[in-house]
């Protein structure tokens, strides 16, 4: 875990005032960030925050509208092919070639990078092993499960042994088991020193994988730090969640005041922020409040996001 911002000279990505506009709409509004070599860096934010647009600019498939961007010390505007030859991209939507088999997807992708057939074959075998798809290598892509397709997409992105791996919502839409398997694979890459840049709207994913992250909302970066730092800075140690029977929550005026450092009312529950969650639960009980359920938990990035934007991450 790196707790300090990276040193500039080791940065693989540098963005200053980076902006993306589509007509009158500004998708990314003058953001600054740097990603250091070997780091796992995340963009956390809800859908439409500008995460994917940022990733596409880094991946040199979307021209920047303003500011400056350097990737691997090169300019995406003029040196796209050279940059792309050294990065791996896992797009939000799987774009596997459904007209080819699992193995052919890897081999041919290597050919796009100009690798020899023999080299592509060697790397494909390794990556099939890594993605736990060796037994399915001669199958068509279509019948694979969502998790397998995702693993194949990641394996494909690694065929050129990239210095930098871009993952746009790597586990969205996967079941919990498939997600954990994928996280495990990504964690191994991280241990091997591959620089990971990912977007996510899952706080648990960000906490699992990111050394450092920026929180994006409405095209801007609203906070930056390690998951721990962000939680320390923007939330309390614990959260007490009270869920009341239908109709009761609206009639609680004033009864919760002073129970915690901060109170957030969501549609279906009330969140009480304090360093000692148990004490809050006891105090609420002493006031005669009768919630249906009480849950005391540690603060997460979800709470950070709520604090920063007043909204929850997943609508």
């Amino acid at each position: 875990m790196t707790d300090r911002p990276p040193m500039s000279d080791s940065a693989l990505i540098r963005a200053r005032g980076l902006t993306k506009r589509f007509g009158a709409f500004t998708a990314v509004d003058a953001v600054d960030f740097e990603v250091a070599k070997g780091e796992s860096f995340g963009f956390l934010g809800p859908n439409g925050a500008g995460k994917t647009s940022t990733m596409r600019m880094i991946g040199c498939v979307s021209p920047i509208s303003g500011g400056t961007l350097t990737v691997l010390d090169q300019d995406p505007t003029t040196q796209g092919p050279s940059i792309r030859s050294r990065i791996g991209v896992v797009p939000q939507q799987d774009s596997l070639d459904t007209e080819l088999t699992v193995r052919e997807n890897l081999v041919l992708y290597g050919r796009y990078f100009g690798l020899s057939r023999a080299e592509c074959g060697r790397r494909a075998d390794e990556l099939l092993e890594f993605a736990q798809l060796t037994e399915r290598q001669n199958d068509e892509v279509e019948p694979l499960s969502g998790g397998m397709k995702r693993r194949l997409t990641i394996a494909r992105a690694l065929i050129n042994e990239p210095d930098l791996l871009l993952l746009d919502e790597p586990t969205t839409g996967l079941d919990p088991q498939a997600r954990h398997l994928l996280w495990d694979r990504l964690y191994r890459l991280k241990q091997r020193g591959v620089t990971l840049v990912l977007t996510t709207h899952y706080m648990d994913e960000a906490e699992q994988l990111c050394d450092r992250l920026v929180v994006m909302d409405k095209a801007k970066i609203v906070a930056e730090g390690s998951p721990r730092q962000l939680i320390d800075r923007y939330s309390t140690k614990e959260v007490t969640e009270l869920r009341f029977p239908a109709g009761v929550q609206e009639s609680l005026d004033g009864q919760l005041d002073g129970l915690a450092d901060r109170i957030e009312r969501l549609a279906d529950r009330v969140l009480l922020y304090a360093d000692d969650g148990e004490a809050v639960a006891v105090a609420a009980h002493e006031r005669g409040l009768q919630p249906e359920t009480v849950l005391v938990r540690r603060s997460t990035l979800e709470d950070v996001f709520l604090r920063l934007t007043g909204r929850s991450l997943i609508e």
Partner: protein, 270 residues
């Protein structure tokens, strides 16, 4: 930084296609290794037409006036026109349905653009594949013509590049049109153009049967260029209008490639 990059932005993007375009051809070879039957079927289509119309109908028709006015057997009249039509059809199928699927549904090109390949490489590679496929059909069909004793002119050899030129023109314009399509239904429009062209461009009977005004219009259709070019080569009577046909098809091809490159740029590199 804008200074040195300026020429890049001004020159048409198609000029910068590279040898990486060959990888697209390789992809298609991989794909068709699984579906070689599709390739074979494309060879039989014009052959069946030739047997049914050339020989079946030809037996009733006898001789017709060919290029230069000389009387030629109906089989010789219709065979090169069928070759021209099948070059058009093959190129259009590849450039419309298959191209649309890769562009809009499978996101094949999005994945490819994350590698060093460029939009121009994709356009050139897809075009190149269409031409290779077209060349296979053409050689096969001409082989059949020779075996059946239809057309023995030494000019016949030139029908191969000429048929490729037809594939090039229609393939490029087809891809350009496809880049504007939004749904599968839009392709009915293309069929609405292709089918009448197939039936009325002097394919099955001489355009001299039309009244002057109508004949002039027919002679401006792209398929007519191909039909007349291939027919004059097959018969061995090549006039100056062949130069016009060649120029027409070349312009069509390069204009189509130019448009499709720009469109892919807009669609894929948002």
């Amino acid at each position: 930084m804008t200074g040195p990059t300026l020429p890049l932005r001004v020159a048409p993007p198609i000029m910068f296609g590279s040898r990486r375009a060959l990888r697209l051809i390789e992809r298609n070879l991989y794909v068709y290794r699984h579906g070689w039957i599709v390739i074979v079927s494309g060879f039989f289509e014009p052959l069946f037409y030739l047997l049914s119309i050339g020989f079946g109908l030809g037996a009733l028709v006898g001789n017709v006036p060919g290029p230069g006015g000389a009387s030629i057997p109906y089989q010789l009249f219709v065979a090169p026109a069928l070759l021209a039509s099948s070059s058009m059809n093959g190129a259009i199928t590849e450039a419309t349905f298959n191209f649309f699927f890769k562009l809009r549904y499978q996101k094949t090109f999005d994945a490819i653009l994350s590698t060093p390949l460029s939009v121009a490489d994709i356009a050139l590679g897809e075009m190149g594949w269409g031409l290779i496929r077209g060349a296979l059909y053409t050689v096969g069909f001409i082989g059949v013509m020779v075996v059946l004793g239809i057309g023995v002119s030494p000019w016949l050899l030139l029908t191969v590049p000429a048929a490729l030129l037809i594939s090039f023109g229609f393939g490029a314009v087809g891809m350009a049109a496809t880049s504007f399509m939004r749904t599968w239904q839009d392709f009915d429009l293309i069929q609405l153009i292709i089918l009448p062209m197939f039936l009325f461009s002097g394919t099955f009977y001489p355009v001299e049967t039309y009244p002057d005004g109508l004949r002039f219009i027919v002679q401006l259709t792209p398929l007519y260029q191909g039909v007349d070019l291939l027919r004059s080569l097959a018969v061995g009577v090549v006039g100056p209008e062949a130069i016009f046909h060649v120029a027409y098809l070349l312009v069509m091809g390069f204009a189509g490639l130019f448009v499709v490159s720009r469109r892919l740029d807009r669609l894929l590199l948002k």
